[in-house]
């Protein structure tokens, strides 16, 4: 059997940073990746351009052997049991979901780690903000994050950002001016530049971070995977981990994986790291038990439970005057005032992203075009009307906090299988009152922002969408009876099995999850290097 120091499952940012950090330190690393390795940016862009109804997943194919959930259009990979639809998706390919992520990288805030003791809801993390802070800083440097180092956004810093803050759009500045000194729900509103993993020395504002950056300015995990390869790591695409084999003493001895031809292979390692995201990692753990062995990492029964997202409330309006939209990074500013405060005792915290995209976030102003043509406009009248209409399309996106609920969960479908015959994820999902109240608060605040701008025709999308922030399904905790991994991300039940990714978050808070994933990956690599791999 092939043997490595470390076998990592999943070639996204979690697996990529772990692999790179360990390969740099001389360890023999294998990364198993279910999807293909397709990095030809121009070819991907052609597919995107040719897709009529563009979405953030347009460029990326969906092979039967490593299928994925899609958003545009919504497919049936998830077996949805409701009552709410789980809307968040991901990519399965070398580089993972960072191919189509937006690149926003806020840190969590100190109170996010202490929800139970501060606000009496959710639970406390078994580590604190201070424990993670040095790793946040390291992750910001690995990923190339922009930000104003003098303004910590409520998350104290021990060092500077590698790049200065990204330029805010004219729309951002107009909203900032309109909100100056204004309060809503007793909170003063601010409009600040996002922290974002977009290199400002390269970013040309092409407006397509989701789905694909044409310049390479946006951080993508292939950066670290390719660097790990150069250091000797093996990244093996089209290799779908299907079972974790556990010995009687609790150690993992090997991982079985299927090639796209359906052949089954095994690989051994000293240490195994699951980095297949918060949907596929619990699926793999559950598959391993379903394959006839004992439960894997699931003494607590928590594997697959506490599924969280940041449910999205989209609000549209028509601006009083036109702006230059449909260009620039899709969002350059955030309204962050509602990320933390006493309301979290009873309702979800949230962030609001200001979109520079107009109403068509992933393509052109097709809706305005269709509407104006339908009204019978042609020629110069059409040109003038479109220039005006497209510049007035305002979009605010609120992302709500969700508390862990063991009934929100992913299990294996008893009837539906993927192209390799593996059971597909079945999802049970609902929004509780806490989140529902938070979503109502988002509508109120987004409506207020539009009012202050003098915008009209405010429309809150009735459908709540997923943000792509899948969290909670392999939670971290001190107690093996109620959590899956300990503070070292080591499975309580298996000393040489580790999980890295947003699945380990005990609560979801309001930060986009990936910087925290990256911080955990660097911390884990350091821990393994100094510990089990020494």
């Amino acid at each position: 059997m092939e043997q490595f120091d470390v076998v990592i499952v999943g070639a996204g940012v979690a697996g990529g940073l772990t692999a790179d950090a360990l390969a740099q330190r001389g360890h023999r690393v294998l990364v198993l990746e279910a999807g293909p390795d397709e990095q030809d940016r121009d070819a991907l862009r052609e597919i995107y351009f040719a897709t009529p109804q563009k979405g953030f997943d347009s460029p990326y194919r969906n092979p039967a052997q490593a299928p994925k959930p899609t958003r545009t259009p919504v497919n049936d990979y998830y077996v949805q049991k409701g009552p709410a639809q789980f809307g968040s998706t991901y990519e399965r390919r070398v580089g993972g979901t960072t191919w189509h992520w937006h690149g926003l990288t806020p840190r969590l805030m100190p109170a996010d780690f202490r929800m139970r003791s501060t606000y009496g809801v959710g639970l406390d993390w078994p580590i604190s903000y201070d424990d993670l802070e040095p790793w946040y800083l390291a992750a910001e440097h690995e990923m190339g994050v922009t930000g104003d180092s003098a303004d910590d956004h409520g998350s104290p810093r021990s060092g500077d950002f590698p790049y200065p803050a990204q330029r805010q759009s004219a729309l951002d500045l107009a909203i900032k001016a309109a909100l100056r000194g204004k309060r809503v729900r007793d909170v003063e509103l601010d409009v600040t530049a996002h922290r974002a993993a977009r290199n400002p020395e390269i970013c040309q504002g092409s407006g397509s971070c989701m789905p694909l950056c044409p310049t390479g300015a946006k951080y993508e995990a292939v950066t670290h995977l390719n660097r790990a390869r150069a250091m000797g790591a093996v990244v093996r695409p089209k290799s779908v981990a299907s079972r974790i084999v556990v010995t009687e003493n609790g150690d993992v001895s090997s991982i079985l994986y299927k090639t796209w031809d359906g052949e089954e292979r095994a690989v051994a390692g000293k240490v195994f790291v699951l980095a297949a995201n918060a949907m596929e990692t619990p699926r793999l753990l559950l598959l391993s038990a379903a394959a006839g062995g004992p439960p894997v990492a699931n003494r607590s029964g928590q594997v697959g439970r506490n599924l969280m997202d940041h449910p999205l409330q989209l609000s549209f309006a028509v601006a009083a005057d036109p702006f230059t939209l449909y260009t620039g990074p899709q969002s350059t500013s955030v309204i962050k005032a509602f990320r933390d405060g006493p309301w979290r005792r009873s309702e979800a915290a949230f962030r609001i992203e200001i979109f520079n995209t107009g109403g068509g976030a992933f393509g052109g102003p097709d809706r305005a075009v269709a509407r104006l043509i339908d009204q019978g406009l042609t020629g110069t009248a059409l040109r003038a009307a479109l220039a005006d209409a497209a510049g007035r399309e305002l979009l605010l996106v609120g992302e709500a906090e969700q508390l862990p609920d063991p009934e929100n969960r992913i299990v294996l479908s008893a009837s539906e299988r993927d192209g390799l015959g593996l059971p597909r994820p079945e999802i049970h999902y609902a929004y509780d009152d806490y989140t529902t109240r938070g979503l109502a608060a988002i509508r109120e605040v987004q409506g207020f922002v539009f009012d202050q701008m003098g915008a009209s025709r405010v429309f809150h999308l009735p459908q709540i969408l997923g943000s792509g922030h899948i969290m909670g399904t392999t939670r971290m905790g001190d107690d093996p009876a109620s959590s899956v991994v300990n503070t070292d991300l080591q499975c309580h039940d298996h000393p040489n099995l580790f999980i890295v990714g947003s699945g380990v978050y005990p609560t979801g808070a309001t930060a986009n999850p990936t910087l925290t994933i990256a911080a955990f990956a660097l911390r884990l690599a350091d821990h393994l290097h100094k510990g089990r791999l020494r």
Binding site: G205, T324, T378, G379, L386, A387
Partner: protein, 163 residues
């Protein structure tokens, strides 16, 4: 990829046989001889408000529309010839008005406008992939907004750009 040659040959062949009523023999001959492409471009200019349209793309749109619904395409071409018998390639407001009177042809005209502005239309899944990519890149909406298409780097840094 589509062959542009095939497009032009095909569409000319489709409409060559139509002799339209109410026209002098000379005008009819002139109109019939005028390639469909000129007629289509004339109409497209009137519909879009742009004079310098991409002729390659025009040829692709023509093939697509002619192949998808040959009868309606023929009807449009012959109607345009009647309206614009002088052979001058600029369809004008009168042409547009006349097309508006026919539900069928007006719907097709709207679709043509949509193709030029977005590169696809709601019926657009049928538009061949190669056309859609080019249609998106060349979509007139981007020219109206004076922007490179989303996904095409504009050639200057965002950090230094002015809105």
């Amino acid at each position: 990829m589509l062959s542009r040659r095939r497009v032009l040959e095909g569409t000319v062949a489709i409409s060559a046989g139509c002799v339209l009523p109410g026209l002098s023999a000379g005008a009819t001959e002139l109109a019939a001889a005028r390639p469909d492409r000129a007629v289509f471009l004339g109409l497209s200019r009137a519909l879009t408000g742009f004079d310098d349209l991409n002729e390659e793309l025009a040829a692709h749109f023509m093939t697509y529309l002619a192949e998808r619904d040959p009868e309606r395409w023929r009807a449009l071409m012959s109607r345009l010839r009647t309206l614009d018998a002088s052979g001058d390639a600029h369809a004008g407001p009168a042409t547009i008005k006349a097309l508006e009177a026919s539900e069928d042809l007006w719907a097709l005209a709207k679709e043509i406008t949509g193709l030029w502005y977005s590169g696809w239309t709601q019926a657009g899944d049928e538009v061949p992939q190669a056309i859609r990519a080019e249609g998106y890149r060349e979509a007139l909406a981007w020219r109206v907004l004076a922007l490179t298409p989303r996904g095409v780097a504009p050639g200057r840094l965002w950090q230094q750009a002015e809105d």
